[in-house]
Symmetry: D2
Subunit: 482 residues, 4 copies
């Protein structure tokens, strides 16, 4: 059970009873609801691949903690080689076509909790770390998927948590006793949360001394009393499956529900809490989490860029211009971007640090610059895809017109491109490009790449803070004998 199957993952969801809303209505069963299919499928990919001989060696390993084979996504990463293996896996997973399987969060959260609790205990003689060990054992044993519930609504950004008009704008403790604490607040932008097995909750900004009640981090079942998921429907096609075969090849299979999670006075037992009041470690959580998360992002962005490159190459093949110099230039630029992004992932893995708790933490500088770089390049990638593929990306009639004999005969005749190929093939590729750059999915993915895991401005501030500016100023001073 250290390595679940897709079926087992879905079974686990059926045993949960989260309170979920979407499109103005309550969702009784996330597994059966059509809007949750692409999200569940995206996560299930990680269960498929862990059981697939092609990926098994990269996807699974032996856990010394529970002495079982486990998924790499539930592993406490202990050395550079494990980090390199995972870097490779993330790129290879591009073969599944899934742009975001979301298991990275599981990995981000348990490794972060593992490392930071070791630090807190060291300073405060607390006992968080052994609780986290137990949680991690559980996560490994049952191959759980964890949802991140991190970003507070923030209210008026000019003010700190304690200064907000509404004290609930950042999640905080409203009561506590021997059993645990009661928390109130909300978490925005929680991708996939309702179809995970457990949430990991921590503050989205470092807290100060007077914000102790906001300094709270914990795990929780998704169906704990008082938790409510208000969901945004995923960017899936409007057209029903039975009427569609060519359209939306990506967005009909992959994507995610985005959630605002309400913590309406939720009780959290002490065993699930891994920081409570030690405000000075809230920044550390973010640092360690950031080290893992943007590293992961570089891997999957690279894989998605490769799909874009392949799509551009294919669409121009069908129109007959794939050897035009400007097409080669586009492809070359996209290769450069993909390989730079991957280089950043590799550098994060290779330049990581062994934490005193045993975790090997990737170097956050490289994950951050890779995420910034790849987010800034996204518009250019899409420009290339649109420019190379042409207007037909947004003007090609629907599959239903193509299959309607009355109109289809004309479309088959006139959409045909390269001699020796079929209109049918070309239409499929056009519909792929449309899905990648001109669909609702494309809009969602755009936002996820730029704002997900921290806005670019936030990451830039981290890059600036993490760089040793005095060292290079001294070098300039040395040059001028100062």
């Amino acid at each position: 059970m250290g390595v679940r199957t897709r079926r087992e993952y879905i079974e686990s969801l059926k045993n949960q009873k989260p309170i979920v809303y979407m499109n103005g209505k309550k969702v009784e069963d996330v597994v059966e609801n059509e809007f949750f299919k692409v999200g569940i499928n995206s996560i299930a990919i990680t269960y498929d691949t862990a059981n697939d001989p092609n990926y098994k060696s990269l996807s699974t390993l032996r856990s010394p903690l529970i002495n079982e084979d486990i998924s790499i996504w539930t592993n406490i990463q202990v050395n550079r080689e494990q980090a390199l293996t995972k870097t490779k896996l993330m790129r290879v997973l591009g073969e599944t076509l899934c742009p975001c399987h979301y298991r990275c969060l599981t990995s981000d959260c348990i490794n972060t909790a593992w490392a930071v609790t070791y630090e807190i205990d060291n300073k405060h003689n607390t006992e968080y770390h052994k609780r986290v060990i137990e949680i991690v054992k559980n996560v490994q044993r049952f191959d759980l998927v964890i949802g991140g519930a991190i970003v507070d609504p923030k209210g008026d950004r000019r003010f700190s948590p304690a200064e907000q008009e509404d004290p609930d704008m950042y999640l905080h403790i409203v009561d506590r006793d021997d059993e645990g604490v009661i928390v109130r607040g909300a978490k925005s932008h929680s991708t996939a949360a309702p179809y995970t097995n457990m949430l990991c909750v921590f503050p989205s900004r470092p807290m100060k001394k007077n914000e102790r009640d906001y300094a709270i981090a914990f795990f929780t079942p998704v169906d704990a009393d008082g938790i409510k998921f208000i969901c945004k429907s995923p960017p899936i096609p409007e057209v029903r499956e039975e009427e569609r075969d060519m359209e939306n090849p990506i967005s009909s299979r992959f994507g995610h529900v985005e959630t605002t999670i309400i913590f309406d006075d939720v009780f959290i037992p002490w065993d699930y809490i891994f920081l409570c009041g030690e405000y000075e470690f809230t920044g550390r959580i973010l640092q360690i989490f950031n080290s893992f998360h943007t590293w992961h992002k570089c891997g999957c962005r690279c894989a998605n860029m490769e799909l874009n490159i392949g799509s551009l190459a294919l669409t121009t093949y069908y129109s007959g211009i794939e050897n035009a110099p400007h097409i080669k230039e586009y492809i070359t630029n996209m290769i450069i971007d993909a390989e730079i992004t991957y280089a950043c992932a590799l550098a994060a893995a290779i330049e990581g640090n062994k934490h005193e708790s045993g975790v090997y933490i990737p170097n956050r500088m490289y994950g951050n610059v890779g995420k910034i770089f790849s987010a800034e390049k996204l518009g250019e990638e899409r420009f290339f895809l649109q420019e190379a593929s042409g207007g037909i990306v947004i003007t090609m009639p629907s599959e239903r017109d193509y299959k309607n004999p009355e109109t289809g005969k004309f479309l088959k005749k006139y959409v045909k491109g390269r001699v020796g190929t079929l209109a049918d093939e070309r239409v499929r590729v056009i519909k792929l490009v449309e899905d990648l750059i001109a669909s609702k999915w494309a809009g969602w993915y755009w936002g996820m790449c730029i704002s997900g895991g921290g806005t670019i401005q936030t990451l830039k501030e981290r890059v600036f803070a993490d760089f040793n500016i005095e060292k290079v100023k001294n070098r300039a001073r040395k040059a001028v004998k100062l």
Copy 2:
């Protein structure tokens, strides 16, 4: 009647009987069909504004041809001042929020036909020009809207029209007699065509001597026998109007149907033909059309950029970060882009040339560089909007959740931003940004900006061809005494 009202325009559509298909079905009545509403509304904007005292002075003028007040969109432009007035109008029309009202095509087509027929008649002693005069009078008198049917499917792009496997890949004459000609072929990417009053058809590439039958340009009613419109549905919201007030503020009002027009052996009477066999002028049509069209594009792109700037400023106002330095930097960069785009429109107007036929043709260099520049900047604009607005653009639950009391109470509490403002206001602005950058509409507009009116690569080739490279080489030679 030289200046129609919205109602008169719509009436005119009701009197037409085009053969129209969409989503696998025949469309019986474009005026009544829900998928045509945003397109018809977009065009109707030009009729509204021509009758609106605020825009009348920019939108209408006296036609010497019919001695009536007419719309600026049916005018044969004769001087720089008219061009400057229209440049200003295009920017001001941004106030209507409509990103593409499509009337520019009417202007592009009649001015092009006017000028090129003058040239052809001069060389070949033909009588095209006087036919065009009659057509233009009609267009002015009834304030018609013309649809462009220009882009041939092109088949395998490695081959010229005459070399294609299927001779119909470029529209061509298959028969002719004293009354007119029969044409066969198709035209792709015809925005708005089914709800215009008349099509203007000409080849999308210069034809050669052996391609005389492909050298054919004409006007035609949209409901001529043998014309079939296979339409792509516009990027309108999925959610019904009555369930929606905040979402999709742009795409629920504006957008267009894209059409593949089939010419299934269509008869064109001589009176409607303005080039037939004079292959050496097919390049000229494209040049003159290009001169008008990319100039117009600069105007409306600038207006849309302004909406983006306003949206970014507003969304950051509501989150409280509008004075953050990086937000000011984003806004400043977007202003620079908008003003450069507008500068190109102005330069095209000011540096135009008076054609011997009387038409004042804008300078195509500036329209082309402006279109290239603004297309290349589109990704950056959207990056700024996403980065500044944050993840909520793609994670904010739906309006229905917001209005469902059970979930709405939480959303009203937690989406609230700036002190003193309402959650309601912020939600509206978030939904605007989503519509602008993360919706199906956003995908369509992206494609239109980059590929519409000629791909960037095509325009770059024109820029290269239009620049006097020998002049500047001589300057370098002079510098080195060669």
Copy 3:
């Protein structure tokens, strides 16, 4: 005499006795000093062209003020047509190869002084304007060249003028009587000043109420008592003229001396003063000056870009790769950049405003965005030139090796490129490219383009301030019914 010749200009310099230092020594005679030759020659270009039949019609016009033909550079510009003529002239002057003839400053200063004094007199019942009229008459009659002495040293930029540790960090009045005022301070970055006929001095930032003594603007002869010019030698070739024919074709002819001007208690008579204490107009001076200056910059930057394009085309012609797709792409991008820059100049001219004083002031938005755009593109231009021309730009041995028979025979053999051309020709073009991008001159020009006339950051702040952000926010509000 309203239009001087080169000889007359140089004569005028001989009649001046400025105190000038360079390279640690006093310069007795700027006309004879070898370091001043390129600067004087650069300015003299404007006298040559005004007397050259090829440029006369663009370069000269009738002054209603003195009823004589004058140079366009001493003109008080009164309408859009004059502005368009000058825009064209600036581009055409590229034919002279001179990257900076510096007469724009003359025009900037007199038009600014003309307009702002009209405003001051209106408010304060002062009599500055009539003094400026007399000065302008003089400038026109004797076709003077004016040097700008504008940028104060600024000291510690965190502090305002009045807060500086040293009160002289901004030029200010230290004494005054019926005859005039005594000023003390310095002006940095004064290009060309010692070989102009007159300085125009004003504050480089808006002054506040408590900075009245810093609010002082005036003209002065360059050899007034107490003025000292500490000069930086221009970026001219090290190699003596007689040893050089092929190398440094631009920098051996054109360039400028940069000067720090010391005002060591200089007396300025009232007749030369055009603002004294009216601090609230110091910002206006900068605005109007900015409107003229960045407009001019767009014109000459465009001309210089054209020289770069020609040089790239020529260097690749000689190596045989001028038709390679990437070379065409480089050239096309450079054309786009040059034409956009020129479009900004045209837009500034066309969208100017007629000031109540009669001056037609170009629209500063377009000059500013054009200067920003062209400065940001400079690196790319040079990248293209280096990439296309190859390593030989920085590895080609010197002309002396080329002319030394012992080594020359090998170089002639091995530097030869395109069949049918001579090594000699190719060497000249290589040396041109080296001069343009890899010489001391190139470094100077780089700085002038980016920092001259206001740093990019300063201009960006002006762009932000000049744009009506509320108008576009309202448009977004309208979209969402707020």
Copy 4:
């Protein structure tokens, strides 16, 4: 002697008698000639650091080949850890301020020769490899520096070597016997060659079957009969050392002589030849060389970027604006660029391959994308430096004016910036920035970064060729079920 000292290196040069020309004259003694000082000093840096306890552990290692401690620059690299160590070293060497110490070529050449001869021998039963082993032993034992003589003049680039009008345009064999071969031709862009100990010569493009005589690779002493070096003087300051202390802090110490090497019928004994006629391996030499060289380039570019960052931070510190948001933005962008470049170096090291000959070859994809990326960013870096430092970079009078009491008193007063700092300090930093971006040195470094080691276009073609485009096309095909 496996690790020489600076003195020993210079001694070795004194024992060589190469034929050298510069500036039209013969150079009798490169060690004594003032123009060679910066170049020799740059190379000597690698001897200094190998003997410096601070760098020794990164710079030296045990050679199994000669069983002595050797310099890392003469090492045959055998595993990933060695590659990672060297990657770190290259960045750390930035502390020496030397932008190019040139020893990378030694490493590039011996590792390439080692690997390729193994392949050739395998196929052709030749005995090149054992000759290379002997040469490498020598290089290690005497810690030699090798100069690359690679780039053929190429003549008219439209033609291949065999098609050139002049058969000598690519270096080739003109005679051969039992002792060796006679070669004729020239090599351009040979940085540093006259002050190396040995040249490594091979073709700069893959040769074809009919170009067997052009397929020749060998080592040779720099003073072999018939070799002539025609040198370009390095970008050193014009002003003599004794008059200069503040100016040109980099270019007065570091830089290189660039050389055109003439092979005027030079005899090469068989023992020095490592490819002769096996044309199909000429491409392999370039591939392996490229793998090492661009990897090295990423390391030193990163180090130089750090100097730029430090200089920008320091110059803005002295003017008081170091905390302005736009300055932080510039610095952050430069950090991102430096770290991405370094990430590419790390990725090349980590993703290398163990060649069958034992050499561990870095992954050329990452070296290539890193070099392309960093070359394309160079203009932006300099833009930031100029923009942040201001006009004073190009207008600050000379050190001699600063030290002349008459003018110095004013300069000391008016150049002073931040309260509490000295004008003297600020002047030094300004002069550093000038040296980095606006000097002759800056022009040379610009060319070296962009064109050195292969132009960007060449590298882009390699990137395209090295990427598995079919793999990603298949992924797109899989997405659309093709």
